[in-house]
């Protein structure tokens, strides 16, 4: 049976998505950092996200999985309003950031302010062609930090946080483009950490890296969750299983199922989820 019919069947019949989510919420020990409610998103006439409801628990790693084109990256990019850079995009519904209850996708909320609170690490390492130091310092400079001592301290802290300090401490003035791919990606993580974001978004952060560099990044993500809430999109289901506490499965712009990662990978509630994680499609 194909996935479409599965989703359709499950939407009409019991158990409904809402019930699954309620059970899930009850079992959750950590408070919510962000809550998406009835989130819809359009690229022009293309309805890319449909009625997404998802709670992102604080200081946990939440993973978004699903086949290509299912909307997981689109969803991730709603959190820091990256879509606003493209013309003709539209949000409806809300993503409420706790504790101050700002709706991140509200038209009245400045996307730049949102991006200053929520950091992002991209698919391909994208350091600026500047020195290692300047890469990490850039976010701080944007925020008006110009004191040299303070900059140096914060840059070191961020580089240590991204587990790359020992490798670059003697080459802070070298070009970031001289680093290896894995180092560049950890530098990009340091760059995002430097401004102490409330949520850190990862958009398939290891898809351009070799297995060893990938392992380092995964280890880092596991460590980082003690300080920051993490939302990660990944194509790699083993990766989701390894690094995340909660996993959400998306398909065709809808959120099919979300639960504790251990539950999703051992005993998913939906047939569609099971088909995907057992590699029957996608």
């Amino acid at each position: 049976m194909d996935i479409k019919t599965n989703v359709a069947r499950e939407k009409s019949g019991a158990p409904s998505l809402a019930i699954v989510m309620d059970e899930h919420k009850a079992s959750r020990a950590t408070p919510a950092k962000a809550v998406a409610e009835k989130l819809d998103f359009w690229y022009g006439a293309n309805h890319a996200l449909k009625n997404i409801n998802l709670t992102i628990p604080e200081n946990q790693v939440s993973a978004l999985i699903g086949p290509s084109g299912c909307g997981k990256s689109t969803f991730l990019r709603c959190f820091n309003r990256m879509h606003d850079l493209q013309p003709d995009t539209r949000y409806a519904g809300s993503i409420t950031l706790r504790p101050d209850n700002v709706n991140l996708v509200d038209k009245g909320v400045d996307p730049i302010e949102v991006r200053m609170r929520i950091g992002m690490v991209f698919q391909k390492p994208n350091p600026f062609p500047k020195s290692v130091f300047e890469n990490v310092a850039y976010g701080l400079r944007l925020r008006g930090v110009s004191n040299r001592t303070e900059l140096a301290e914060r840059v070191e802290k961020a580089l240590r946080g991204a587990a790359i300090w020992d490798e670059v401490k003697d080459r802070l003035t070298d070009s970031a483009l001289a680093l290896s791919g894995g180092q560049m990606q950890r530098l990009c993580i340091a760059r995002a950490l430097a401004t102490e974001p409330e949520i850190l978004l990862f958009d398939e952060p290891t898809s351009a890296l070799d297995p060893i560099a990938t392992a380092k990044i995964e280890e880092l993500i596991t460590e980082l969750r003690q300080h920051v809430t993490i939302l990660i999109v990944t194509h790699n289901m083993q990766q989701a299983a390894r690094v995340s506490d909660f996993t959400a499965f998306m398909y065709l712009g809808e959120l099919v199922e979300v639960d504790a990662t251990s539950k999703i990978f051992t005993n998913p509630a939906k047939k569609a989820t099971e088909d995907y994680i057992t590699g029957r499609y996608g």
Binding site: I112, G119, F122, N126, F128, P129, L142, A192, T195
Partner: protein
């Protein structure tokens, strides 16, 4: 499965295709050598004909009625000053226009029309720019037949070149880099000034210099706005030893330029002046080649530093 063709057929076919490959290489090389050869012959011919005039005197003397005492001092000083004004105007205006079109302008029909027009402006005959400048700069704005008018005219002429080159350079900055900066909370202007512009400086300067090397040889527009062909004085120096050290009188000064001087000498019946013209042409050509060389060097330097 049966083979579509025998191995021998296959080899014969491959040999024929490889011959075609070689033929193209030979043809390409031939055409290239022909072009370069023509330029080299032209240049060497000028050098040979003007050889007797090369020397310190030639570049430090004013024009004269006697061919053997005539020099190009006022011409190359005029050209240098005009190029300075041209670069100073074309760079900021061209870069700002390109930034607007590339980074800020909404993608609609109006922007489309502006873009097509900018590209088309590069093909407008230069004499048309001369006529426009004569009406606008010389008469309407009252700048007169001056260095300023000439510089502005040539700036207008190379503006499309600078805009197109700058847009290419801006476009070469990867989207991922812009997203990285936006993701940290940068505004559009911060992304442009901190990242896009610094990373495309090489391409922008290359475009400017190529534009200038086109402008340096332009004759028609500056004849139109009234360059003099016989000037036995220099514009006032822009820098002086007394307060306030800078003066802008030179902008209002009458002028001549290298192509004008060459044109003037060529049109004289006396054979001795033809020698002067050849020598001056060789120097002008060398100036152009040097500027192109500089453009290549700058591009190389920046490519080495920024390697996406």
């Amino acid at each position: 499965m049966a083979a579509v063709m025998t191995l021998e057929d296959l080899r014969a076919g491959l040999a024929w295709r490889k011959n075609l490959d070689k033929l193209f290489v030979v043809l390409g090389l031939l055409v290239l050598l022909l072009c370069l050869g023509l330029l080299a012959v032209l240049f060497l011919d000028l050098v040979r004909e003007g050889a007797s005039r090369f020397g310190w005197d030639f570049i430090t003397q004013f024009p004269s009625r006697k061919a053997e005492r005539a020099g190009i001092l006022s011409a190359w000083v005029g050209t240098t000053m005009i190029m300075f004004v041209t670069a100073l105007v074309a760079l900021p205006v061209g870069v700002a226009a390109a930034i607007y079109l590339e980074e800020y302008a909404p993608k609609n029909w109006l922007t489309g029309i502006i873009e097509i027009n900018v590209t088309n402006l590069a093909g407008v005959p230069s004499i048309v720019y001369g006529l426009l400048a004569l009406g606008l700069f010389v008469y309407t704005f009252g700048f007169g037949q001056s260095v300023l008018s000439a510089g502005l005219t040539l700036a207008l002429l190379i503006l499309p070149i600078v805009i197109v080159a700058t847009r290419e350079a801006l476009r070469a900055v990867p989207k991922a880099i812009r997203e990285a900066a936006y993701g940290l909370g940068a505004t559009r202007w911060e992304v442009t000034k901190d990242h896009v512009l610094p990373y495309s400086t090489g391409g922008i300067l290359t475009g400017l210099i190529l534009g200038l090397s086109r402008a340096i040889g332009e004759t028609a527009p500056i004849i139109t706005i009234g360059a003099l062909s016989f000037i036995a004085f220099l514009p006032p120096a822009p820098v002086s030893g007394e307060f306030p050290f800078l003066n802008f009188e030179w902008l209002r000064s009458e002028f001549t330029a290298m192509p004008i001087q060459i044109f003037n000498w060529v049109s004289r019946p006396d054979q001795a002046f033809q020698v002067n013209a050849a020598a001056a042409s060789a120097i002008l050509l060398a100036m152009t080649l040097a500027m192109n060389g500089l453009a290549i060097w700058i591009r190389y330097r920046f490519r080495k530093k920024i390697n996406w």
